[in-house]
Symmetry: C2
Subunit: 514 residues, 2 copies
């Protein structure tokens, strides 16, 4: 009997391996589309991606998988599987039940509609044209509601919005997030106002030093070396390319990042390189024995975002990191930045100021951008508001939360592509990532009280290893709430992150920390 | 009834579309592996390629395809299909019958063995180690014989070697090739000897001018512009990258080439760019209405090679082309080559001299390298010789045909990767490509007697359009022998190619042309 079960398990793993290998091939095609593809190749590429998506869907809903899962669940020896094997089976089962529940027609229609809506959005954003985009967004929302209603039953969530959140952040609910975000919001607004009223303000003139793109490329490589994401050695598993919007893609031994260079805004590429390197290190440090298994994938988008933001902000905007890296940067860049003062530079890269654009936001105001979007999504899927009201709600929220006046659609409701691509429920992950970071940082402080000094003196190794052992290597062994508890021994709360921000910005703005 | 048939036909075309789209995705993964992939990515990439190959095989042998073909062939209205539709059905049927006849176990074993043999060959070539490679080559030959014996019955060819040739050059047989090559061989040896004895010999010192790689990259782009293979415009369907061995890959609107730069051998990249651009233009100029259909693919490897060599040699090594392009080259390269004399340069790039390495051979001696390989393959598959005798036969042939003494395995039997990859029957295509070129050139001379003057004055447009209309656009509508007859109204003969060579090299070597 035990032998039978191991055969069933092995067959199930073979099936999953096909899915993940296919999906990694698909990601590579997507990467090529953004980086290398000749412009005329787009039609063929769409056909290739659509075919691979269809093949992937066929694999995921293959009746044999259903039968294998049934056999597995009914088997008297199911309990013989170890915890990792059980988690693998559970993850495959969850995905199978969801995929099978969604009618093929709906999946295809969503794919089709999202491509159209994304294309309309891209043009609409350029031309400040909400009217043209609105009907497409309405269709996206209708389709998402249909899918969410189905998934809600399969996932047994309280609301349809919860079913969408669960896609990106398993086991998190709007109710839990609401509680966290309410607390987060008041903490952030309090700190933002305090900073605004601080008599001391950083001098950011350094940030506008012109640095030639070729030099920025060299700096990027040095930065990846500093955080030990290897893009140059003979055994490298990474590479850097250039795209409009930076991103990371890949799996284990082939994880690639991109950045964008602006000659008069060199810190843009610095921090996008650090951010994407954080994503890349996560993918590369998952337990290598788990490759091609469900546990051998990232835990969630929120945990992913926590890792990128940990490297970008907690490490990358710290005095310690720049104590270590600024001398190296000066060696590479030479005259252009030889006059940079360490403390002044670190203050400049930590300027806090309310802005209209999420991806340009600092650590303190960033969460507010996310909370605005979360509240809108929640109301939208509860049926309390409708698509046509969104610009007004958006602009009011920005006024209320951040005190900024949105002047047009492009800088307002049209700024992000997520809704255009049908990704509802994704936004909260960004702010959850910050909260995870606060809690992980508190634990790291406990485990290695001297990590700051070590970072300043010897670089990133100690932190990288800690993240590797405590977060990355665990892959998808636990859902996010459980993972955070396993690592930090505590439920997720807002307090550690707010404490981190208060400590840091009190120092930078030379304010009393209370 | 007619309506039923069109449904069957449409379904068959859908099935083929999946296959060709999947295969184009697979090619992109292969391209990335050679150009962009981080070194550590190789294991994952092998898994991706193996999966896509397996999925492709499943599609190609899908029983539904068999049933659709049966319905189609038995249908009383089969004759209602037009010529293009019939050709599409015939090509799918041919491929289906062949794929189905080969046992899965044999296909898998060949794939596995060829990877191993290729890897062993790569190392053996570096270390001049025939002993280690020999058993792998024996296995490759055994597997090829097994496959050829099966295919021979399906394809109804006279010999098993013919079944292999037919994979790359449909409807060509060893007997036909033998006849052509016997004549070709004497013509080439006669001309080679005549050239050897010519008192006038080109001065090739120009070819060793050092040209910085960055400058060579600019020249490459200018060359692709000169032959109208677009790699830079906003609507480009091509791109250039750098690899150890140049190649072309792609389909219609995304066709990419590679080259290799040597600072002290700048003509290497010139001619590899022209060669690969010839391949690329072929793929891009196939009738756009035929995309995703069997007719919308290249006719054969021999026809492909004829197109690359047409652009590289007949155009690219002509006085006319350099009359047009040398001034442009001087504009780009400036001082480095400002002293180049047009006639001297054209003579230098047309030096004829027997060498040991096929891919370094000139137009006159190239065919002899191919004939040596063809004769060996023919004897090998007829069972007249065995693998262990190959080095001796090889070295003797080189002595006899080219008068050169092979000193070691690396420059002899181990120089090409084709046999290591199991590609038996491929070599003749290279020399057939030359013969096709001779006949196409004669027809082009008839159709446009002034193309030389036009090329010298206005560039490549006229020739490109002629090749596009007469060769490229026809895709795989006819098998090679029929295609050549359709275009030139004649059966393939050796005479036009030998006439081209005699005319050209008599001029260059200032010899009487008889």
């Amino acid at each position: 009997m035990k032998k039978d079960l191991s055969k069933v398990y092995a067959r199930l793993m073979d099936k999953f391996k096909e899915m993940i290998v296919l999906s990694s091939a698909s990601s590579l095609l997507g990467w090529d589309m953004m980086t290398m593809m000749p412009p005329k190749g787009i039609n063929l590429r769409s056909q290739q991606l659509a075919l691979l998506a269809a093949l992937g869907h066929r694999m995921a809903t293959d009746p044999e998988v259903g039968k294998l899962l049934d056999t597995m669940m009914q088997h008297s020896n199911y309990e013989v599987l170890d915890a990792i094997q059980k988690r693998n089976v559970d993850l495959i089962r969850k995905s199978y039940l969801e995929q099978v529940a969604l009618p093929e027609e709906l999946v295809t229609e969503m794919q089709r509609q999202h491509s159209i809506a994304h294309d309309v959005w891209r043009k609409a954003k350029t031309s400040n044209d909400w009217k043209t985009f609105m009907p497409e967004l309405e269709k996206n929302v209708d389709l998402a509601k249909r899918a969410a209603d189905i998934l809600m039953k399969v996932k047994k969530t309280d609301t349809s919005y919860d079913a969408l959140i669960d896609i990106y952040e398993a086991k998190m609910t709007a109710k839990d997030i609401d509680q966290l975000f309410t607390e987060l919001r008041s903490g952030l607004i309090w700190l933002m106002d305090k900073i605004k009223n601080s008599p001391y303000q950083p001098d950011t003139s350094l940030l506008h030093r012109r640095i030639p793109i070729d030099l920025q490329r060299k700096i990027s490589i040095a930065l990846t070396q500093a955080v030990q994401y290897d893009v140059i050695s003979k055994n490298a598993a990474g590479r850097i390319d250039e795209t409009e919007h930076p991103f990371t893609t890949g799996y284990y031994d082939d994880v690639r990042i991109t950045t964008h260079y602006y000659e008069d805004q060199f810190t843009h590429s610095l921090f996008s390189i650090l951010h994407e390197s954080g994503h890349a290190l996560y993918e590369q440090q998952i337990n290598p024995e788990w490759i091609f298994q469900p546990v051998g994938t990232a835990c969630s988008m929120g945990i992913h975002e926590s890792q990128s933001r940990f490297v970008e902000n907690i490490v990358g905007r710290s005095l310690d990191f720049w104590t270590y890296f600024l001398p190296k940067l000066k060696n590479i860049a030479g005259d252009v930045i030889s006059d940079f003062d360490l403390e002044r530079f670190v203050e400049a890269i930590n300027l806090v100021t309310p802005t209209k654009i999420r991806i340009e936001a600092d650590e303190v105001t960033y969460g507010l951008h996310v909370i605005i979007r979360f509240n809108i999504e929640k109301d939208l899927f509860a049926g309390n508001i409708s698509v046509k009201d969104l610009p007004e709600i958006w602009n009011q929220s920005y006024k209320e939360y951040l005190g900024v006046k949105i002047e047009n659609y492009t800088e307002g409701i049209l700024q992000d592509m997520h809704w255009a691509s049908g990704d509802f429920g994704y936004f909260p992950c960004y702010a959850l990532g910050n909260l995870y970071d606060g809690q992980l940082l508190a634990k790291m402080n406990q485990d290695m009280p001297n990590w700051h000094q070590d970072l300043a003196k010897d670089g990133f190794t100690m932190v990288k290893d800690w993240l590797g052992q405590n977060v990355h290597s665990l892959g998808n062994l636990y859902d996010p709430p459980e993972l955070i508890k396993k690592i930090t021994t505590k439920e997720l709360t807002v307090e550690p992150y707010l404490k981190y921000l208060n400590d840091k910005y009190s120092r930078i703005y030379k304010m009393p920390n209370k």
